[in-house]
């Protein structure tokens, strides 16, 4: 049985004093934290990079919570979901991805997801709810793309299951591509705007946090020059518990090393017309 959740007390003094002034102080403090027998409130958080923590309104991804990545007309939702997975995954948590057969796994690795602790269930079919419920029992984070016909009751049961099993549930409602969506089984949408209306209906239940990519641009690419670089985007989060209830954060994916908040970034001003001069040439040596 899990111990009861307790309020986070002050860190124990003696341990901190032992570590103080020594080179190994930080490590020692972290060891002390990990060997403590209690489950503290902050242990109930799965670590995430700082800009994402700002979106969530908590220092990490809370266990037992449900985060919905809403489909919007702007691309970037999949990268955002992978970036949210990266922190927990690299700190030892098991992650599962359900119902996303065309997930780019190289991109996942580049965004920081540890593939050795990643499990995929690409085609859950009609057993979507049963598969997600099972995975919530064993994995720490479950990313799921629900089918369009998910019943409200099933969604509610999954949210309850996540809360009960102390796992985080990320619902990737999916972004909409102007070209037909690449996921097999997704209905082809040929006209822009047509699918955007329907996208957020995929998850009928309330969630702790709803994230939506509202704007973005492409860097590093011109007309025949450069190549695609990191993607600056603006994400709006609607939170139920944190204040203010709605924040807008600008970040760049993949996150730069160190994971700093990218507030200083100039606002995306349309498309970059020139390839950036520092883009290295990638003409392969084998090109003939």
């Amino acid at each position: 049985m899990r111990p009861e959740r307790l309020a986070d007390p002050e860190p124990e003094r003696p341990v901190d004093q032992v570590g103080k002034g020594r080179a190994g102080g930080v490590e020692l403090a972290s060891i002390a934290r990990r060997t403590r027998p209690l489950v503290l409130a902050r242990d109930e958080l799965l670590p995430v990079a700082p800009p994402l923590a700002e979106l969530l309104g908590t220092p990490g991804l809370p266990r037992g919570s449900t985060v919905v990545l809403e489909g919007s007309g702007v691309a970037g939702g999949t990268s955002l979901a992978l970036a949210l997975l990266a922190g927990p995954s690299s700190s030892g948590a098991w992650c599962a991805v359900v119902g996303m057969p065309s997930l780019g796994l190289v991109a996942a690795a580049e965004l920081g997801v540890a593939l050795e602790r990643l499990v995929l269930v690409p085609h859950p079919g009609r057993r979507f709810a049963a598969v997600v419920a099972a995975l919530l029992e064993g994995c720490d984070v479950v990313v799921a793309r629900p089918p369009a016909a998910l019943a409200r009751g099933e969604a509610r049961r999954l949210v309850a299951r996540a809360r009960e099993r102390r796992a985080a549930l990320l619902i990737a409602a999916g972004t909409v591509a102007t070209l037909p969506d690449l996921a097999p089984g997704a209905p082809g949408r040929s006209r822009p705007g047509e699918g955007r209306v329907a996208a957020s209906v995929l998850w009928p239940e309330p969630a702790e946090v709803r994230l939506s990519v509202v704007a973005g641009s492409r860097s590093g690419i011109g007309r025949g020059t450069g190549r695609l670089g990191p993607r600056p985007m603006e994400v709006v989060a609607t939170r139920r518990r944190a204040s203010p209830p709605e924040v807008s954060v600008r970040l760049v994916l993949p996150l730069p090393a160190g994971g700093s908040v990218v507030e200083a970034l100039p606002p995306p001003a349309g498309w970059v017309g020139r390839g950036s001069p520092e883009s290295p040439p990638i003409l392969p040596a084998s090109a003939r």
Binding site: V119, H123, L179, P180, A183, I282
Partner: protein, 542 residues
Amino acid sequence: MSPRPPRTLVVWCPDWPVSATGRPAEQAIAVVAGQRIIAASTAAREKGVVPGQRRRQAQACCPELTVLAHDAGGEIRAFEPVVRALEAFGAPVALRRPGWAALGTRGPARYFGGEAALTRAVAAAVADALPALARAPAGDPAPLAGPWWRVGIADGPFAATMAAQRGVVVPAGRTASFLAPFGVEALGRPELAELLRRLGISTLGGLASLDEADVLARFGPDGARAQRLAKGLDERPFRGRPPVPDLAVATELDPPADRVDAVTFVSRGLAEALGGRLAERGLACTLLEVEVETGDGGRLSRLWGNDGVWTPGLVAERLRWQLEAWLTGRPPDGPPDDPGGLRPRAPEKWAEVGIAAVRLVAVEVVADRGRQLELWGRSHAADERVARVLARVQGMLGHDGAVRPVLVGGRGPAERVRLVPFGDPVPDGVVGADLPWPGRLPSPSPAVVPADPPRARVLDAGGAEVAVDGRGAPSAPPASIATSGGEPVTVVAWAGPWPVDERWWDGTGHRRRARLQVVTATGEAYLVALERGTWLVEGRYD
């Protein structure tokens, strides 16, 4: 001079991949792996089908040829009875591949009263192990060379293999003279054999007669090893696997159980008994077979592997999920084939007849060395929990319903990932992802990579499809992109094309592609590739 290698008996099954299919040898059958023939039945060989041929060539030689895909797991399973039969002789058995097994003869030969008698006994046991296959010609009850097996004895595994091909027993100390007339190709080193032939050394005897120091200087360590083999001095004694003691537990249910929990309750006791037997011998089971017999004599079985700890709870839990999966049948949208087990005939029917017997067999055992646990944290318990949960998901969706990704070498985003069913070991021959792959697309990679890339049209300002010439230059700047049936979308930025010419030395694997990144007016970015005149959407930067 090093001592003579130990006397070794080899059972060799030529074209085992064909024999393992269990089809009659009169049929023209060939087994292919990667478009090349790796084994052919006698009937097929008579028509001119030889291993190493391309599949098309083989079909041209022999139009009625049945071509089957290589099934490594099936071959190993089919060979298991032969290995068990050999283990009954009490000496360690070594396996190199399905279809080849070696046995140390020292003890058994004395027991059977000589090597000739032992060889006959082994041949008889091997023939009996697979009655479905054995059709030895009438007369001699156990010939050393049957329709699908060969048995031979010599000094060391290499010479014994050659002896087995001839079906003879080479007397001790006469191995070198037995090997002398064989061609140098028998060494299994094609490059060395070709070189030796050009130098005028065509037989093993010729190679053996050369000066050792000269061979080492001219052909390197591998050549020196080959010469030792040719002299009948096998350099490495084989390692046998310990004979698997009788590690099966079974129980009968009378009357047949018609409920899943009744069966799982019984399986708990069985698992405890099996665990006790394994612990007595200091072994851990890495592959467990669970067999269920239904009331009307039907059988269902499945093999489960894990890292060696089968607690009673774990066995019971897996058996329950397995039974539930069998009972409910396959979900209609699940994978079409189930590689791991057999399908029940009619689910309703077998719920009616009930389950009459449960049997647990430790198929593969290793010495129990314990497991390395993590010093800190709860990671170990978490791993076990994840494995349990995924076994349940696999019970619902089939073995390949839950997979884990492995990064491999490659250039395109789809080529760089291989999906392995959860619980399976990472297959051999995975090329390291950390090697340099010139021409690989740099980070960031597309976050959406379709398994089946849809076709697209990349058009220039005039509405004509963009082509890429031999130098990698586009015929015109791309102006719009459309997928089948969709309206074209304006392209506002693009980069590339980057040509990739892969495996140009290889007739079958050769691919020429040119990749292009495009950004549409709606802000989406795609990776498209032109191959054989068709643009395919390889990925979306989402």
